[in-house]
Symmetry: C2
Subunit: 391 residues, 2 copies
Amino acid sequence: MYTDLNPGKRVLMGPGPSDVHPRVLKAMSTPLVGHLDPDFLTIMNETREMLKEVFRTKNELTIALSGTGSAGMEACLVNLLEPDDKAVVCINGLFAERMADIVKRCGAEPVILPTEWGNIVEPEEVKKVLEKTSRVKLLAIVHAETSTGVRQPLEEISRLTKEAGVLFVVDAVTSLAGIPVETDKWKVDAIYSGTQKCLSCPPGLAPVSFSDRAIQSIAQRTSPIRSWYLDIQMLQSYWGKERFYHHTAPINMVYALREALRLVLEEGLEERFYRHQLHSKALVAGLEAMGLKMIAPLEYRLPELNAVYIPEGIDDVTVRKALLNEYGIEIGGGLGKFKGKAWRIGLMGYSCSKANVMLFLSALENILKTEKYAIPEHGISAAAEFYRNEN
Amino acid sequence: MYTDLNPGKRVLMGPGPSDVHPRVLKAMSTPLVGHLDPDFLTIMNETREMLKEVFRTKNELTIALSGTGSAGMEACLVNLLEPDDKAVVCINGLFAERMADIVKRCGAEPVILPTEWGNIVEPEEVKKVLEKTSRVKLLAIVHAETSTGVRQPLEEISRLTKEAGVLFVVDAVTSLAGIPVETDKWKVDAIYSGTQKCLSCPPGLAPVSFSDRAIQSIAQRTSPIRSWYLDIQMLQSYWGKERFYHHTAPINMVYALREALRLVLEEGLEERFYRHQLHSKALVAGLEAMGLKMIAPLEYRLPELNAVYIPEGIDDVTVRKALLNEYGIEIGGGLGKFKGKAWRIGLMGYSCSKANVMLFLSALENILKTEKYAIPEHGISAAAEFYRNEN
């Protein structure tokens, strides 16, 4: 027979999941009520209202889908796209590539705007592609690219989509509750996220929000939505006033998300964004003091996902294994062209703390020294000095 | 601001979710490791092995999808069907109707075999439809129809699909771990379930299993699988030896499922099936003593989902509200043609106990008396007598 569940103790500083606050774990283990129970309907309503605050939107169609962030991506595209539609996909990392794959499965045609991984997508390029392509239904872009640590500015690109009469779809998986996400101000038409990043909730739900323009566009479809499970019209009737049975919501995941959202709003969004900036800057001060180089330029760097080049002569897996086995610290390896060449250090939600920054820097320094890497300066000293100066 | 999470205390005797064992809730609230952590990979492997035991299959492709039971339904159909394929859908309740809907969204053509709700699908009828329809890709049927409480025998229908060279797809959402599910013996090609029924785990995962025949059929597709999120080839690489990153698994839901499966196997499948039979018989003895009439004939009655006609002159919602508000008991109302005419009383997994049977019968009797229903005989006396005779 199998033993009691006993996974190792971890400090989650990878690209997600992040550490989960004990209050969220406790809420998640609350005994269940039925998924159409009056008490659960209240909990769903409260969760929607808090999601609207975090997305900074008035969109009524703001719910948590019963799948992970990737289900959110699929939901946005499968509901908006019909066969033979064109979708401009701005690709500067792994997750936008996935979008293009999904566009094809919807029977639509992806019009790829390629940008080198690690760079931002330039509005000038977006303008060109929108000008030269006819009958574009939507433009999809990643706000916080988890594979490169790059923050994509969205204001200007949003303006261009509106000028072109194109729906604006945004991946906010790694940005939501870590850096400002302005769904309404940026006139986003469909936006999705995951729970296991800066919301610091276990993975399993995909917060999404659809604008009225998006809902109208879906209502005018001439072909059926290719997914029943992610059919946003049916999901709206389930989460909305009608309470029309669709599927059985993952009760305990909703309990967890409600509590995670409560923690976010108790802290305050602006305070939370500041905390992510603060600890990321301290981490970067430490890494740079040790001679490491960040991938993303300062201006477009995500505080919650710090992608850094691995120093020459240092083996990726050896270091990550030592971090995990000796310290219980998980960080992420590189993806795609950064495989073996970069680490991705997450400081997301509950994982984003001074204690974690200092623990990680000291662990990394010890391991790099064991690997005969000559450290120019102590990372922890530089980070500690940064913190002192901030006070 | 929002209050602490505080849903009412419930005894879940509806069509699911069922009550969850404290050990499962405790496992679910274990702090997270990463979704590619060596410890999590072990947990995924153990979960797969236990799922294989519960499905009674050697299928290597036996995993838990990151969605609820309906996602399992969609996954089986979207992976197997291509545009212009034909799928025979045997409909004798709500959930098979949903299958037909999904078949259409796959671009395939559903060939409906209609049967009155509450009856079983007759093999003779299946034979006829398979004989007169050419180029059928698969036949889909519900094993335990949650809308009617009917158990569909599958052996003969399986044989007919094999004769016709048609893939055999089975909905085991409400049957798995409640009544025997013989995936290999019945030569099922794709089968799906949910976690919140007889497995008594919170909703959020869909156990599925695909035969080698199904995998071969998928490998021969000429069009892409319409869902990225439910693409079983990619999911196989994630759960399999390759450990190829697909999406982030819902860590804590897998913790919960592992513990729920452990409980099932500790009890023993045969013992668990016996327990469901025992308490259902006691419940039915009580209901019939009180003058109520079951919907499904004895031979095809599901022990885990007891659908019973509401006595004449009694209002559905009044009774269910009183059960919920006065006793904390949830049962299900009727669906479709049984709306307002039937109750669905679940005895699933951890909810299936003598204590719950007796509590429910006494609660129902008190409420029916308040509603001026003349009870011929005490339900609790009949149930108690049944239990005494069984010992």
